[in-house]
């Protein structure tokens, strides 16, 4: 089978090992920052316990599975002590070949050593619906993240 485009392939291979992975890591750092910002917003609901009382306890069972929806998005968490917010961490796992694929990861997580109740907020309890604040925040910024990655990486393989 004839091979065509060898020059392009070689150029890609050369740039793959250096500039490309640097650009990927830098871009993933930006992705982590975008997600982190949205998670912060979604952990910073401003309703106090007395506000909630005045709003007829919007998360009470009588208001249904999503509650009374006094905040947008519905999974937004009200900030009380700030411990949950302080447990938030962001970072990246740099680009590397894993299982035959070049993979890089951006993450935002809640540290349960700092806020042990984080799992109960995110996954719910027998008395409280889940608040998928990490998953929801990620989904909210997916279009923006997609555009950012496209913009930053579309020419990365061919750049010198």
């Amino acid at each position: 089978m004839p091979v065509i485009g060898q020059k392009l392939v070689i150029k890609n291979l050369i740039s793959f090992g250096s500039n490309f992975t640097k650009k990927v890591n830098k871009t993933m750092g930006s992705v982590a920052t975008i997600v982190d910002k949205r998670v912060k917003e979604n952990l910073s609901g401003g309703l106090t316990p007395s506000d909630l009382s005045g709003l007829d306890h919007p998360y009470a069972k009588r208001h249904g599975e999503r509650g009374k929806q006094v905040l947008t998005p519905w999974y937004k968490v009200n900030k009380q002590t700030g411990r949950l917010l302080n447990s938030k961490e962001k970072g990246i796992i740099p680009a590397q070949v894993r299982v035959g694929k070049l993979m890089a990861t951006a993450f935002v997580k809640l540290d349960t050593d700092v806020a042990p109740h984080a799992v109960h907020v995110v996954y719910g309890t027998s008395r409280m619906i889940p608040r998928p604040v990490l998953q929801g925040s990620r989904d909210e910024v997916l279009p923006a993240v997609g555009l950012l990655m496209k913009k930053n990486l579309i020419n990365a393989v061919l750049s010198t």
Binding site: G64, Y123, G124, T125, R127, P132
Partner: protein, 170 residues
């Protein structure tokens, strides 16, 4: 019944028809979050739609994120028991053809996205494991067809489906 509710009902039926699951929770698979159930009886499983997005290419098709919560009394059961139940749930859902002619729902795919840790819930003294699944599904018509709609022109095309597979195009 909306597509999301049909999906939950189908999952409920599959789980209650699975002997290993039924041995633990009997028929107590609730199609809403356990916090919304009046006087729930444990052990139990509850289903909760976290996200429900419309698919743009297939009319009324949905992409759901569903949390399946397992609840066992911690005095009687251990973390090993609840992890065994999680494994049984995962096995049956990953293997199932969830297309259901009676419910008029076809599930194109279902897979586990995430699983939370084994947690303790002090009142009323429960073990809790959340499992998160992504489900792609579309409602079928009574003759097992699905309707595709061209987003640009609005034209509709009906496809026939058998066991979740598109078999002919009208």
């Amino acid at each position: 019944m909306k597509a999301a509710k049909r999906v939950l009902e189908k999952i409920r039926r599959v789980l209650t028809d699975t002997p290993a699951v039924r041995d633990v929770v009997q028929r107590r698979v609730y199609t809403k979050h356990i916090s919304q159930v009046d006087d729930p009886i444990y052990p139990a499983i509850s289903l909760y739609v976290l996200t429900n997005n419309l698919n743009n290419s297939v009319q009324e098709a949905v992409q759901l994120s569903v949390q399946i919560d397992l609840w066992l009394q911690s005095g009687r059961k251990t973390a090993v028991n609840i992890m065994d139940l999680a494994e049984d749930v995962n096995k049956v859902l990953n293997r199932q053809d969830l297309t259901d002619k009676n419910l008029e729902i076809a599930v194109a795919s279902i897979f586990q996205l995430d699983a939370g840790p084994v947690m303790t819930d002090p009142e009323p003294n429960l073990l809790h494991v959340p499992l998160i699944y992504r489900v792609d599904a579309f409602p079928t018509t009574s003759d097992d067809g699905i309707i595709l709609q061209d987003q640009a022109t609005g034209d509709k095309i009906e496809l026939n489906v058998e066991d979740g597979q598109i078999i002919t195009e009208d």
